[in-house]
Symmetry: D2
Subunit: 388 residues, 4 copies
């Protein structure tokens, strides 16, 4: 079996983007609970994100959500982040909260609505240029609640037109990543419901258009690691939105609901070369901390990804290939499980320690008093949230 | 086959409760879209509910949600409703929106929280007495998002204690109906997740405790009509919360997603005697009209229930029994499908016409100008909604 | 609304393929029940298939399953079918019942196994030429039961190579249609699990390679009509395998589990031009009649497709487009439902009558005495079945 | 945290029943693959089962399936097993493979069929007495494939009558355990589809009637550990049928698909006292080894249960209770995960070694040459299987 020492060089390249919105309040349609110390501004969100990186060394980028994170001066915001050791990651457009988007955005039947939505994306591209962000991530709430409400076929063509205009505005190494989602907020048909649809849309755009895979956006039972393998094979896996779920798009801490699934996903990432930075896969969290503390929730998530990546790297690939070639089902499965069941936590602690990071980031953060400090400091103002 | 004339006496007994909250704004965690003319007060909700009854003759009761519909004088509210031809239906308690309920209510670990939640229910019982409402419906958001968060076993016992105290305060023919839900807002474990749990809890309480079946609260693939048959057999089907769904608890218009399922449910209601008012089954709508007009959405829903009830009544029970006894699968299924495929809309229109009701309630309501009137009248104030 | 007379010309073009194996015994892993009169030979299967066409006028082709339907002289079999008014439809390869395929066929790790599987397909192509069949349908049982058992990524490449060799042997207007399936018999990963995978595989092959959509091969909740619309848009919908299901791949009579879904599927077929024979969509049944009579089960299925096609053709497209453009959700949905709820059975009976066909095919077949006749005649021999 | 030494006394009580049919051939409706060395007789199955116990020390009982394991002299069979260190465990009735059961057994409409099915169960009770078996397990394939086929309501009453007669024949400490199953082989309605139905049926019978929970028999997303907790609370958890699944009732090796779920289940077993032999919970495997070696598959399964039981026992219950009481979500979850992530394999190996068992049962069995020996010895005859 591979040793931990052998895998550390590859662990060093792991970089996880944290989402600015994870530090704001979130909830369900029933209730959004607030909590003391929640950021009021994008700067405070970046402060919180910096804590995650400070204690884990694994989260050097923070993704923004536009318009939630709109500021007048994005160059200044970039500097603000860089001063705290972070870069600005993916720019996430948001075309689901303005009243104009009630019946869709980039795929809407109404040309005026589409214009508004496209213009919003063009503004996002400007923000990317100003912040040095590489990726424009598009997740669309577009869809319908009742059969007959929309012309499913027409909306695919309409969407393709909208995406083409946006894609045309990208420059340099900027990329467009298109997310798919099985359902919610649309309850009958979603305009980009599955990886196949996202793939055919981005394949029509060009090389710098890729698919974004959110681990919570699939039908029950879907084999997600298969999709990972397929998209890496096709050269179209642009990004992950990591989270976990027992039911629908629950947006729980990644690895919390099914750690073995996260392991299998990371095993396919490793197998398909996705850990190689040249492949361009962005590893992002996209979660809601509805009832748990947000910063520790993010730290826990980053650690989960790292732990499962380590286990995936520990797979004895040679033994696996031998067993697979021999159709020795139990041995092949056993090789995989051996890596999964290996407790890497002590090795990872030592590795962190060797880099001047806390061996136990959760405990170290708790002891830092940061949460108590922001609870005391952040009084008044409007706590950030989804604003639904 | 049974004729339409033969079934009209049984259709006459059909009474569907509409929920006050269906007339307020609702949405998803992503966005709640407002609309012109949305009620600001419970009285305006009752005004809207009265329209549904006026145009269908089928919706003589309006259910309330406490605290959303709190007023100082419930006796006056009862009169307000009666003046508009409605009675006050089920009182729905709500223990999921106060900050104190972040980690549960009747099943919470914290005794102080439980006290608050029980007291809220006792207040609801007082409201029932003041309004002449028969049923206290309890739907609990209680549950957990992460394994280990709660002691699943302990919470069942705690819940039983809380329910016992509430049940003890009921008097006369007042009933407690306990709703179950598969998931949401809890994303790991729900404290009353299935009919079995609701059944064992209410069976422990006594005769006037019953199960509430919400058609959207089941795992994918669940055979809901089987549960209907089983609960009627056990004498424990207290109420329906009607709606429909393609995915999770989508709360779409009942019958919109799977009209054949609604037909099968009503067929088991008929088979099990549930249409007989003496059985005490409350037929209630519990829906969200996120993007469609709310009052027409309710009218459409009431009509759907009536249409499927009519079809269910048309089943040739004798031919069905004969085919079932002979294990003649195709004939038995054919007898059922024959009733389902029968277009009862013209007969129902004539029936309505004979009772002085509009033959086409959707068209008649549209022509009434009510929506335009309330859009003009209801200016200013705070539109009602879930207040999440 | 469109009248029935207006749609009859388009109904005339409807042709449904029946599968030879539907007339043999089938069942579950628990038990295959036999029945009297079950065919022993492919000729007897064709005799039974001819009954379906005789009583419905809608089923002029019979699909074969190789090796179940292997004969020495396929030209003679073609004549046998043509003498009974049928043509030979799709040739379905079968690479899941020989012991050599235990760990896969076209995607297997073992080159010898792949060679055997490819050769089997080349033989199928010869049978196509001999029988005048247009389509080679490939459904693969390939996959794995345990994580680690197979190299998911490698198998996609291997499969692509195998398909390329087979595709290269097609001539004239012969086509390859690749079916996908969510799971079963593989219980961890299926090598062609979804429409996206089938699409990328056939797109790489060329114009005469298409996707086959089996209505029972999706994850719970999947919006199948969306896939229909998407594949028609991409010009890649080659064939349907019609059946229905409540749970997994139940292979029930099409339309039996969710008639509204079948209606929505046919509505998208109509919308996307799929009823036009030039589009080349093959409408095939693929069902198991485990407990019901097989020939009447097929007749019922063919009628269900025709009834839902008629309803789909009745949709008032103009009114629908108007309501969609106005985002009038309830009206748009209402236009669709109006067509669905229209009882077309009497009109279809008159249409059949006008063509010299029985108004009630189910009753006419029952009265024909065919089942009693074959039960008496087909004594001895080995009843056809899946041979699992 | 609890130490491994502290938990060994409780591990000592763990006893897992293996099913005789796991050593025969099994498969899907598509194909049952044979393998060399498969038992031909129940005695050879017991020989194989004895290997599992010999190498693990955890599997002292073998369950039988009647009629698959019918012998003339069950007392002799009991001795045969005891001579190999095994006792006869649960007697599983089988009323799904005789032609007479095509439309049901204990719940069938036909009184003659019910009589046959009841008599079969009475014979099973005699076998229990002869073999010293405590439990009669009833799993019913009863159900329907099409709506209307059966009278759902009537069948519950019919089933209750049949069970009452069978239950009345039990004596001493004999028990009846009633299994439930979501679907398959019935594809529309199953007569005992969920724990609620099983519970109300056995509760009506009496104290020695219990529920059997098969881990593969639930709807997608069902929280199985909740059901475990609830049934233990109600004193009605009679038995487990362990296996695992990604999709439907896949019958994979327990723990293979979702090891974290198995851990959570065992955690609730521990929490609810289910490990205490006095509670009477039977821990049985019910799996199919379609493509993997059967005896190693059983060894792997037994080890998986033991490993997850050990991890569940390691949970720091005090720390968990403290965090739960404080609603400290992340800490409570962290306490649970800490136990799950602990690699107990080395400790378990040492524990086995201390008891004279092989440290690595999988390797030791492979080295024993048993598989090669039976492959050489068991030539000719009819390999055992489901006989579907």
């Amino acid at each position: 079996m591979t040793t931990f020492e052998e895998i550390t060089p590859r662990l060093e390249t792991l970089a996880i983007e944290v989402p600015s919105w994870a530090y704001g309040n979130s909830g369900t349609r029933f209730k959004v609970f607030g909590s003391r110390g929640t950021p009021r501004t994008v700067q405070e969100k970046i402060d919180d994100a910096a804590q995650v990186h400070r204690f884990t060394g694994l989260a050097p980028a923070v993704a923004l959500h536009i318009p939630w994170d709109l500021v007048d001066d994005f160059a200044a915001l970039r500097s603000y982040a860089e001063d705290r050791g972070l870069r600005i990651g993916t720019i996430n457009s948001n075309t689901f909260q303005d009243d104009v988007y009630k019946f869709g955005s980039l795929a809407a039947a109404d040309p005026g609505v589409r214009r508004t939505a496209i213009d919003h994306h063009l503004r996002c591209v400007e923000i990317m240029t100003a912040t040095g962000s590489r990726d424009l991530k598009i997740w669309l709430a577009d869809g319908s609640n009742y059969p007959g409400q929309n012309d499913l076929r027409q909306r695919q063509d309409t969407l393709a037109e909208s995406l083409t205009e946006i894609y045309g505005q990208l420059s340099g190494d900027q990329r467009l990543v298109l997310e798919y989602k099985f359902f919610e907020p649309a309850f009958y048909a979603t305009d980009v419901p599955d990886w196949g649809t996202s793939y055919v849309q981005v394949a029509a755009l060009g090389e710098r258009a890729m698919v974004c895979l959110d681990t919570g956006h699939h039908a029950p039972g879907t084999n997600i690691e298969f999709i990972v393998a397929q998209l890496l094979r096709l050269g179209k896996l642009g990004a992950f939105d990591f989270n976990s779920r027992f039911y629908a798009d629950d947006d729980l801490i990644v690895g919390a609901a099914d750690p073995f699934q996260l392991f299998r996903i990371m095993a396919e990432v490793v197998r398909g070369g996705g850990l190689d930075p040249a492949t361009g896969v962005a590893f992002m969290l996209d979660q809601c901390h509805n009832i748990e503390d947000k910063i520790p929730g993010q730290i826990r998530s980053v650690l989960n990804v790292a732990e499962m990546t380590a286990r995936a790297l520990l797979i004895d690939r040679e033994a696996l290939a031998t067993a697979q070639a021999a159709n020795d089902v139990l041995t092949a499965n056993g090789v995989l499980m051996d890596a999964f069941y290996t407790d890497v936590r002590r090795d990872l602690a030592a590795w962190r320690d060797s880099k001047g990071l806390p061996a136990d980031p959760m405990a170290a953060f708790a002891e830092s008093g940061y949460l108590q400090q922001v609870a005391a400091d952040r009084v008044g103002g409007q706590q950030a949230g989804w604003g639904a």
